[in-house]
Amino acid sequence: MAVKDEIRSFLETNFGAKEIDDQKSLMESGTIDSMGIIELIDFMETTYGIKVEDDEVVEANFGSVAKMDAYLAGKKNG
């Protein structure tokens, strides 16, 4: 499964999200609330074996499916 599909699947299972627009802000669209970021960090660290650093916990990395996908690609290549 592609990373974007895995992220969408996680959002559907854990937040009841439907028809997720990859580009749309997850917070502004109400898909996740502020605490949702904690679950997303946990999902990324356990699923992809990465360490999310404190300075990476920003909306530029977690704001949407597309941003999370780009962030993970950067972490894998870095």
Partner: protein, 307 residues
């Protein structure tokens, strides 16, 4: 109330701030800090907590917290009645019952109660005596409680501070704040971008370091022009002055939020890293600070004698 405090109060009466929702107080890095330090609470340090938002402005962040943590008791104070009126209206329209708004001067207030968490976001640096303000906050802290501050950074705001000084001299004979806003707009929109380019705070962190986009946004926001370019009192901090102010207030740094510890992601040379690692903790923080040159700081402070 001292003269500077009175001026700042009048400024915010004329231009209540912020005018719309933004998530300075409750951004993802702070959410993570509050989760990591929740102790026995289920999700966050704010679950069931007594919380103070010191300098709440128009109350968007306090309302957001009240909604997220219905079992928390939130007290939000501000100097400006105009901002508080908007805050109360906003909370009432959302049906929030766990947030109380009160008028108070952070330099003099005694709320006669203590809090598990105190947020003072983007406020201390506008007080006539920030160190005294922090001591006041410290007195309102329960044992083991935390003060979270968001402060302007001396190193990252240097060019902005020069532009502010330029405007002060250029507009010293202009009395009306509204007129000053118009002149500032004219300067920023027509001046040489290379000469004027600087970092300033905007509602969306993603825009912050993009001059053209952040400029286009702020030109339509008079209250942000006032807050960022024309403020009567802006005191910028660095890690050294933050630690000194914390010391004075009987507090110590618990966490520099949003900044990873060490410099190994920024400096690769092993000999330099070894020298850095050999420094005392405070010097390591100062070196890190001078290396990053932050535009702003989010720090969590705790009482020194925590159990």
């Amino acid at each position: 109330m001292d003269e500077l405090t009175r001026q700042v109060r009048e400024m915010y009466m004329e231009f209540p701030f912020p005018s719309e929702e933004y998530r300075l107080l409750y951004g993802p890095q702070i959410v993570k800090y509050l989760h990591d330090n929740r102790g026995t609470r289920p999700r966050s340090l704010l679950d069931g907590a007594d919380v103070l938002d010191a300098g709440c402005g128009t109350g968007s962040a306090a309302a957001s917290m009240a909604r997220q943590f219905p079992d928390a008791r939130i007290t939000a104070v501000d100097l400006s009645d105009a901002s508080l009126a908007k805050a109360r209206e906003n909370a009432t329209s959302k049906g929030l019952t766990n947030v109380e708004f009160r008028q108070a001067n952070l330099l003099e207030m005694d709320l006669e109660r203590k809090f598990d968490a105190i947020f003072c976001m983007g406020v201390l640096h506008h007080l006539s005596d920030p160190e005294k303000g922090l001591r006041t906050l410290s007195r309102h802290l329960k044992p083991g409680g935390v003060v979270v501050l968001w402060l302007y950074g001396e190193y990252g705001r240097h060019r902005l501070n020069l532009n502010q000084r330029l405007l002060q001299i250029l507009l010293k004979d202009v009395e009306s704040l509204q007129e000053k806003v118009e002149y500032t707009r004219k300067l920023l929109s027509s001046g040489d971008p290379e000469s004027l380019r600087c970092y300033f705070s905007v509602h969306d962190p993603e825009l912050e370091h993009k001059w053209d986009e952040s400029l286009a946004w702020i030109l339509g926001k008079p209250e942000w022009i006032v807050d960022q370019f024309l403020h009567y009192n802006e005191r910028v901090f660095n890690m050294g002055t933050i630690l000194a102010a914390a010391d004075q207030a009987g507090l110590s740094l618990d966490k520099w939020i949003g900044v990873r510890s060490g410099i190994s992601h920024l400096v690769k040379d092993p000999a330099v890293l070894e020298r850095f690692e050999g420094l005392p903790e405070r010097d390591r923080l100062l070196v890190q600070d001078l290396l990053i040159k932050p535009c702003h700081y989010t720090v969590a402070l705790k009482t020194k004698n925590k159990e």
